[in-house]
Amino acid sequence: MTEMVDPDSPAHIGRRRKEYLWSGAGFGFLAAVPLVVTDQYLLFMLSLSLIYAIIALGLNLTNGYLGMLNLSVAGQVALGAYTCAILALRSVPIPLAIMASVIFGAAVAAIIFLIFARLHGFFFGLATIAAAEVIRLLIRNLDTITNGVRGLRGFAHLTDSAETTYLALVLCLAAIMLLSVLTVHSSIGLRWRAIRENRDKALSLGIPVTKFQFGGFVLSGAIMSFGGALLAPLLQYIEPNIAGLSILVQTVLMVALGGGGTLYGPVIGALAITLLPEFLRLANELRLVIYGLTLILVVLTLPGGILGFVIAKLRVRRRVAGL
């Protein structure tokens, strides 16, 4: 997996600076898109893919960097979306509603982790799916608040125009990316990777594993709820199936396709997965069939995802060139 380097070594800082430059250029490019793209629907799809990128980044923290099996995506997204929508319908301003969703999402993630802290690996994963299912059933059943299976609609937009919404979302993604970069490159990130590589060794080195997993899980949950909270005002309609299995498949696929445990992989995966079926103009059911097939193919043939593949190729080239 990722090599362990002293984050303060000069060689590493040089490479880091290059990475920041590339990343800044990438976000500059994303922000410049509305200058070229004026089609409202295309901008909407681009905005949607940015939100999915945020959700995928959130999932990547636990599954990619901490080596946990966190499958609560659908629950956290639905939680954020419904909190935001319900508050917006009670005429709370959208930014405040989103903040409340993030806090609520983090609180629920904390509760989920504390309940299941004793479980590891697949058992933890299964428990988080069960938690997501409980959230879905509560949303479906508490129809006085959530309007049940009929769903919610008629709340405020994120901003007034599609262009400003898109730009706001680029900013949101940049903020979440910065947060991930800073966390992953900090000593916290180093310990996360230590836990991922060998949990028992990390414990024996005195790393409080559960505490770090708790922090990572709550941060990841908060980010995914943040994505959900952005999703509601963009889609303008939400229903309980937002917490269904398909969003789990979609997010897992984004992380796996782009490359789990890398910073930019999930973003690449999210953009590819949301935009490609749109360009191919596929029906929804066919889209899910393709998602499923892609997930199978990626895991079978491209274990590191696109970015993992590219990095491996680059490394070989560097080694051949004697660098």
Partner: protein, 292 residues
């Protein structure tokens, strides 16, 4: 009181279907440790195949056999094409989870495209009701319970008395050592998958008989079947029957006392309490990998 007695008896039939759905997973996941998220799709495929064959005019028994065979074939294909190539990966378990999750979504949506979203039910000759002094049972429910009982007795004998069962346990415990002493490891795994998928298929056929089948049937049982295997503890195949009956009755009684919409939530809460209080499951079975 009569209401609760009625709910308990229909809960037993529901539990019998759950038990069939999870029994194969008890071998595949409980013993081999393979996470097959496409396992319950076998139920839907078997039921749809049985309904299609029956609609074409085939007799009831033939339709059931065809359904079970369809599921068994799907199980074999799943193992051969999607699970075996992953065994050499470092993160084999998680990779299998993702691949079978993808497969599950593919099967579900292909079925939606081919069959439509309309639920269908399996019309069988098992009509009629049995009145037990106020508590009414339908014949198909009684047959379901009887079949579940037969299947679990057979599974118990198969895993404890027969050579095949011993080969399965040996393969699950240590595939390399099993191969060394001459057990055809690959074939044993393949047959275990076929049997597991066929049993799930049988459960799906009964589900289509008593309730109805649509493209989401597989997804409905997915989490539940894993929950049952985890609850009963690894390798504890008879435990799956007990846990299934417990959850079936919980669901049925919750539906009778409160409202049908709270049924699933009650089941999930029972699971969460159990997995937190006893992560190792209700009972370590005799068939665990650690002790044969």
């Amino acid at each position: 009181m009569m209401l609760v007695a009625q709910a308990v008896t229909s809960g037993l039939a529901l539990g019998a279907i759950y038990a069939l759905a999870a029994s194969g997973l008890g071998i595949i996941f409980g013993l081999f440790g393979v996470i097959n998220f496409a396992h319950t799709q076998n139920m839907m495929v078997a039921a749809v195949a049985a309904i299609a064959v029956s609609a074409a005019g085939a007799p009831f028994v033939v339709a059931v056999v065809v359904g079970i065979l369809a599921a068994a074939i799907l199980g074999v294909v799943t193992e051969r094409l999607f699970i075996r190539p992953l065994l050499s990966h470092d993160t084999a378990q998680i990779d299998t989870l993702f691949v079978t999750l993808g497969l599950s979504i593919v099967i579900e949506n292909v079925m939606l495209l081919a069959w439509g979203s309309q639920p269908t039910y399996f019309d069988t000759p098992l009509h009629g009701i049995i009145d037990l002094g106020g508590v009414v049972l339908t014949v198909d429910r009684v047959v379901t319970m009887a079949m579940a009982a037969i299947v679990f007795i057979a599974l118990h004998l198969l895993t404890t008395r027969l050579r095949w069962g011993k080969a399965v346990l040996a393969t699950a415990q240590n595939p390399v050592a099993a191969e060394v002493i001459g057990i055809p490891v690959q074939r044993v795994r393949l047959t275990a998958f076929a049997v597991g998928a066929g049993l799930a298929g049988l459960g799906g056929i009964f589900w289509g008989m008593i309730y109805s089948v649509s493209y989401v049937t597989g997804a409905t049982f997915l989490i539940l079947s894993f929950v049952l295997v985890v609850m009963s503890g690894p390798g504890n195949i008879t435990g799956i029957l007990l846990c299934s009956l417990l959850l079936g009755m919980t669901e049925s009684v919750a539906g009778a006392l409160f409202d049908a919409k709270w049924q699933r939530l009650a089941v999930m809460l029972v699971f969460i309490v159990l997995i937190v209080r006893r992560p190792q499951g209700l009972g370590q079975g005799r068939l665990t990998r650690g002790n044969i």
